[in-house]
């Protein structure tokens, strides 16, 4: 089975960049003071007041829905040595109001996937390949290129695969001294990276921790830890 892919799978980012942030945290303290990841007037980025569990009145992840706010943040980020850009989002607000006996903390959950894929040396197409009985070796889905084996005497052949990794020409094997084959590689293994963020709230009540996670697709999962 072959599936054509974009080898840089994180919405067009290169492997060296941070993933796009779609939500920001907001924390409401017991006295009503509010802390937000980005200053709403200047776009300046703030550190979380406390990365650990502590009492809050409420905690939330809020999607970026204001284009001017997004522009403000990204203009500031562009001036930093390690910029982290944000983008507009239609994700829902994740808001938890805490009881008197509950503590909470907010954080990003980063996920970085690395996966090999094949790249066609003939036409540049990138694709994933899963071995199947009907397709025992990879073939470019666009131009049909595949890796082939070559005998110096008989040209392109389908070799005999020996357990020790040796490939022999089947014609030489029948007619005379055994002879090895050379691989003509047209498909090359590469590694793709996918980066994404999920947005997490953990609420602690006694020994029980409940975790709320919203991912980039808007799916919310709730787990007891």
């Amino acid at each position: 089975m072959r599936t054509t892919i974009n080898p840089v799978m994180d919405e067009g980012l290169s492997t060296m960049e941070a993933p796009i942030t779609l939500m920001y945290w907001a924390l409401e303290d017991l006295d009503g003071t509010t802390y937000v990841l980005y200053d709403l007037a200047t776009g300046e980025q703030h550190k979380v007041p406390d990365p650990n569990f502590r009492r809050w009145k409420s905690v939330a992840w809020i999607p970026f829905t204001d284009a001017s706010f997004v522009d403000l943040i990204n203009e500031r980020q562009a001036q930093l040595p390690n910029p982290s850009y944000v983008d507009l989002s239609t994700l829902p607000v994740l808001h938890v109001k805490l009881r008197d006996d509950e503590e909470a903390r907010v954080f990003f959950r980063g996920k970085i996937e690395y996966s090999d894929f094949y790249e066609c040396g003939e036409c540049g197409t990138a694709f994933l390949w899963m071995r199947e009985d009907t397709e025992p070796y990879p073939v470019c889905p666009k131009c049909g290129a595949c890796n082939t084996w070559f005998c110096d005497i008989h040209g392109e052949v389908t070799p005999i695969f020996l357990q020790n990794g040796e490939r022999r020409c089947p014609i030489c094997e029948k007619q005379g001294p055994p002879r090895g084959c050379s691989l003509i590689r047209r498909l090359f293994l590469r590694t793709a990276v996918r980066k994404e963020l999920a947005y997490c709230i953990q609420v602690k009540r006694g020994d029980i921790i409940t975790e709320y996670v919203i991912n980039k697709d808007g799916i919310v999962t709730v787990n007891s830890l």
Binding site: P81, F108, G110, L128, T191
Partner: protein, 191 residues
């Protein structure tokens, strides 16, 4: 804000850490072996790939990065047709984090072009793992539902995590040839 996080592979005696671009299990110590030094199906016993160190490294951390884990899709052995008992193995410690600290990195060795040394080999194995009671685990046991605990350190500055140390074990009924594509995943918490 989100830090810039990349997966790196360590090679050489230094080691040199390189952002992964062309990773492949093979029988030499290289982050980009191309089609050279393929893993070899043994005629008897087991063969191994050279072991690999993979870690995440980051810049632009806000306050902290922590809770670093790693997992596979759970079907590596069957997808790569590693044979009966063949598997992708991962170095395990008896307790605590299973990741190898950078200070304990050890260059992969073996018989180039044929087999790597087994992580647990009493003489030539990986010093951080070979004296443990635990044997290397089957990476297929570490999935999104139960990832491997790589590093529980709380990092407050730019840096890198401990490494996942893995190698492929091949047995006599493994299948030689091009391999299907597989995805591995690191998870981390960041604030």
């Amino acid at each position: 804000m989100a830090a810039t996080v990349n997966v790196e592979e360590g090679n050489g005696s230094g080691p040199t850490w390189t952002v992964i671009t062309s990773g492949r299990y093979c029988t030499t110590d290289s982050y980009n072996p191309g089609s050279n030094y393929p893993c070899v199906v043994p005629t008897s016993g087991n063969n191994y790939s050279y072991w690999k160190h993979h870690r995440i490294a980051w810049t632009g951390v806000g306050t902290q990065i922590s809770n670093i884990r790693w997992y596979t899709p759970g079907n590596v052995a069957s997808t790569w047709q590693l044979g009966t008992g063949g598997q992708l193995m991962v170095g395990l410690r008896d307790s605590g984090d299973h990741g190898c600290p950078t200070a304990n990195y050890q260059q992969a060795t073996g018989t180039q072009g044929t087999t790597g040394h087994y992580i647990k080999d009493a003489t030539n194995g990986h010093d951080y793992y070979k004296s443990q009671a635990a044997t290397p685990g089957d990476a297929d046991n570490y999935t999104s539902a139960s990832p491997l605990t790589v590093d529980t350190t709380v990092y407050n500055a730019n840096g890198a995590s401990k490494s996942v140390v893995t190698q492929v074990k091949l047995v006599t009924d493994a299948t030689q040839g091009d391999k299907s594509n597989i995805t591995f995943t690191f998870l981390y918490d960041e604030i």
